[in-house]
């Protein structure tokens, strides 16, 4: 491995550098037999595992077999070619958020939040908005300079638009957990279209959508300003709001050491 690619090119690690070992489990819709185990090995081979060890095979009822397979993959991963949405704004403490809003807006920043459509899962919106918060961080209700209107679950898009207008919302937060038949994507597009229709383009509130199954790079496609995925904390959302709505004269990118708790939201 040349020094330029050192640390850039990686492969999975089992117990020795470069061994490429991975584990995999799956079910095949066939009864357990020697043939079934061979079929599992064949699948693993086709997926690039070579050698593939079928370490466990268990019948589940008369028609299915569950497998655990360990094996080596030869693929290399180039981390310089990985595309992700990196946080492009500084992470602020609640105090800094309050101070920034006060200085820049001279009023409280209003946020209207809801789960739209038939989605009844308020876990996500509540984790971000409720004072209780998430992953040890207090929710946005805790921020003195943020006015939070949480409409809860099963809010229709027209209701949301109407309330956003009535509250003169600076930002609208929408949470979507249910993904069956792509409901989260359809609902989000319907929501962003409704806002575009109802507001002049320069007066639109910031549209933010979040949920565990969103692709964070899909904002433009969904017609929203930002998509937050799994693991987002209230502090990140608050910091983003400041970044977009209460910009600071002298931004100090990453003045604070970054500490991202490895927690996941849903």
């Amino acid at each position: 491995m040349s020094s330029t690619t050192e640390g850039r090119i990686v492969r999975p690690y089992g117990d020795t550098t470069g061994d490429g070992m991975v584990q995999l489990s799956f079910t095949l819709p066939i009864p357990h037999s020697k043939v079934a185990e061979g079929a599992a090995a064949q699948l693993a081979n086709k997926m690039g595992m070579d050698p593939a060890l079928v370490v466990h095979a268990k019948p589940m009822g008369p028609d299915f077999t569950f497998f655990v397979v360990y094996g080596r993959v030869h693929h290399l991963v180039d981390t310089s070619k990985v595309e992700v949405v990196e946080r492009d704004y500084p992470l602020l403490t609640p105090k800094e958020v309050n101070a920034a809003v006060k200085r820049s807006l001279r009023r409280r920043l209003t946020i209207v939040g809801a789960c739209i459509g038939t989605d009844a899962h308020t876990v996500g919106i509540d984790a971000i908005l409720n004072i209780k918060g998430f992953a040890g961080e207090k929710g946005l209700e805790y921020y003195r300079e943020l006015k939070v209107v949480n409409l809860g679950a099963q809010v229709s898009v027209p209701q949301l638009v109407e309330r956003a207008r009535a509250e003169k919302a600076d930002a609208v937060l929408v949470s979507q957990v249910v993904t069956q038949r792509d409901a989260h994507l359809l609902n989000t597009r319907e929501m962003s279209a409704a806002f575009r229709e109802s507001y002049p383009s320069d007066r639109m509130p910031l549209l933010i959508v979040g949920g565990p199954r969103f692709d964070e790079s899909a904002a433009a496609d969904l017609g929203v300003d930002r998509v937050f995925g799994r693991g987002t904390t209230p502090g990140e959302v608050a910091s983003y709001l400041v970044h977009r709505l209460a910009p600071q004269p002298e931004t100090r990118p990453d003045a604070r050491p970054e500490k991202q708790p490895e927690r996941k939201a849903s």
Partner: protein
């Protein structure tokens, strides 16, 4: 169910009695209020018990069609029975179905009968609704007979598994497979959003979001499929659905008539988590529980929800409080101890020191407060992170806590919670987890006696003390409108931080104060039993 040794926590009986009397004090004014009101859903349930089924070509049930016309003509406050059977006796139609069709075409006018006409309408409606009650009684007897014939679940806790494909014809093979793998109870999760529909969808349904619509036909299809499985497996497999939301009384009636065995039915869930009007909820809830009592259905209450929105340590006492209220409301409506599947959940953050000891304390407290109730034990969801391996371990501890504290109904936790709707293999692994724990430690509760002044006993006493404090706050609460204290407390955000005023929320327009001549044969028949 009563054989389990009690008194492991050495709870002070006077304190426990005090807690119960506070729950009674909080609940009684609500019952008084509930008795004075009716709702569109209660009246539609009455029509369903009288045998009115089906829907118009647009899918609006005939019970909705008929009730809407009656309400427009004479109002809701007298109940649906007098005007409807008066119209039948006047010869407007030969039967309810025809009457509903004619009414929605605008060719019937309803009136409130008086004198002898009223007496005749009363008698006729009572006779017809009694048919529905008899059907419920027959289904209950049939359940008892099938349990005798096939055998009951082989052990406690009953293993409770969920199916939720959205398509009843996909649900059926999944449910049968789950039963084969060891499920004693199958729950069909409802489509997201059904709780806010003010009608019960009709027919077999193949499309739902994250669940399958509760309809009479879906109930019938699934019950028939599980009867087949029960026969095949030599044990009666129970079926569960949801009597909650705006149509709670109707769903309860359908469940009774189609021999469902358990129903999720919480006294405050709809108010707090679905923003359904509190008065509507309490009126609907009382009627639905009267039906469940008659049908021999076990209710499952929803206390686990408090712990998914609030911290499971800080909010532990809200669970006990809600259990006590659910018990009061349930018993008032005629449910017996064995029908009270009071809910609670394993939701403490596993990072918290001694989290498992606290889980044991809370679970044991529920067990000892309600020694004869089956108790519904709900698995971790909030702290399932997507790390399926860690999740599997957490579910193992959940199962162990269930075994140690004698839970009656164990909802099987999936390691893929918060990742995907369970795969076939997830369910199989989850059941292996349950079986291992029950096989290895199922009788450990016999040896398990927490130290009298140890961590667990003290924690349980602390939660009970906080419960009493909260109940005290509830019974002394008040609002400007002079509502019952519990309604004022709900409006203040006492539960789950959600503020739900008595005059807000969905479904309030479907509530009416009963008039002096209000008559409902279903309520009359259901209350006679007591």
């Amino acid at each position: 169910m009563t054989r389990r040794p009690t008194g492991k926590l050495d709870l002070d009986p006077t304190t426990v009695r005090h807690a119960r009397s506070l729950a009674r004090k909080a609940g009684r004014p609500i019952v008084t209020m509930a008795k004075k009101h009716t709702t569109v859903a209660v009246e539609r349930a009455t029509l369903r018990l009288a045998g009115l089924e089906g829907a118009d070509p647009e899918g609006t049930p005939w019970v909705n069609r008929l009730l809407d016309v009656v309400r427009a003509d004479v109002g809701l406050e007298h109940g649906v029975a007098l005007p409807v059977w008066d119209a039948l006796l006047r010869g407007e139609a030969d039967d309810l179905a025809t009457l509903a069709q004619k009414a929605s075409a605008g060719s019937v006018r309803f009136r409130l009968p008086e004198g002898r006409d009223a007496t005749r309408a009363t008698t006729a409606s009572r006779r017809q609704v009694a048919g529905g009650i008899r059907r419920i009684d027959a289904r209950r007897k049939e359940r008892d007979r099938l349990i005798r014939k096939f055998g009951d679940a082989p052990r406690k806790p009953w293993i409770y598994l969920i199916v939720a494909t959205g398509d009843i014809y996909e649900d059926i093979p999944q449910a049968q497979q789950a039963a084969r793998e060891g499920a004693d109870v199958i729950a069909v999760i409802r489509s997201t959003g059904q709780s806010l529909l003010d009608y019960v969808p009709e027919g077999a349904t193949r499309e739902g979001f994250a669940g399958t619509y509760a309809t009479q036909e879906n109930f019938r299809l699934m019950r028939a499929a599980l009867d087949e499985s029960s026969k095949e497996l030599g044990r009666y497999v129970r079926l569960t659905n949801y009597a909650s939301g705006l149509c709670m009384p109707e769903i309860a009636a359908l469940a009774g008539m189609e021999r469902l065995d358990m129903m999720l039915n919480d006294s405050m869930y709809g108010i707090l988590f679905r923003d359904i009007n509190p008065v509507r909820t309490f009126v609907d809830q009382r009627f639905s529980r009267q039906v469940h009592a008659r049908a021999g259905i076990i209710i499952n209450t929803g206390e686990d929800n408090y712990l998914t929105t609030a911290d499971a340590v800080e909010a532990a006492h809200t669970v006990s409080t809600s259990q006590l209220l659910n018990e009061y409301f349930g018993k008032e409506a005629g449910l017996e101890d064995w029908q009270l599947g009071l809910g609670h959940a394993f939701e403490i953050d596993p990072e918290v020191p001694d989290s498992f000891r606290m889980e044991l304390a809370h679970a044991l407290l529920a067990r000892e407060l309600f020694p004869n109730a089956p108790l519904k034990w709900m698995p971790p969801t909030r702290h399932m992170t997507g790390d399926v391996f860690r999740g599997y371990l957490l579910d193992g501890f959940f199962n162990l806590a269930g075994a140690l504290t004698g839970q009656g109904i164990l909802l099987v936790g999936m390691m893929t919670e918060a990742v995907v709707t369970p795969w076939l293999s997830d369910r199989d692994l989850a059941l292996q987890n349950v079986r291992y724990v029950m096989n290895a430690a199922g009788n450990l509760h016999e040896d398990f006696r927490p130290a009298p002044d140890g961590f667990i006993a003290n924690r349980a006493r602390q939660v009970l003390a906080e419960t009493i404090e909260l109940l005290d706050r509830i019974v002394t609460d008040s609002d400007a409108a002079g509502d019952p204290p519990l309604l004022a407390a709900i409006a203040d955000g006492t539960f789950g931080l959600m503020k739900r005023p008595a005059d807000g929320g969905r479904g309030l327009d479907g509530v009416a104060k009963k008039s002096g001549v209000y008559y409902n044969p279903a309520t009359e028949l259901l209350e006679e039993q007591k």
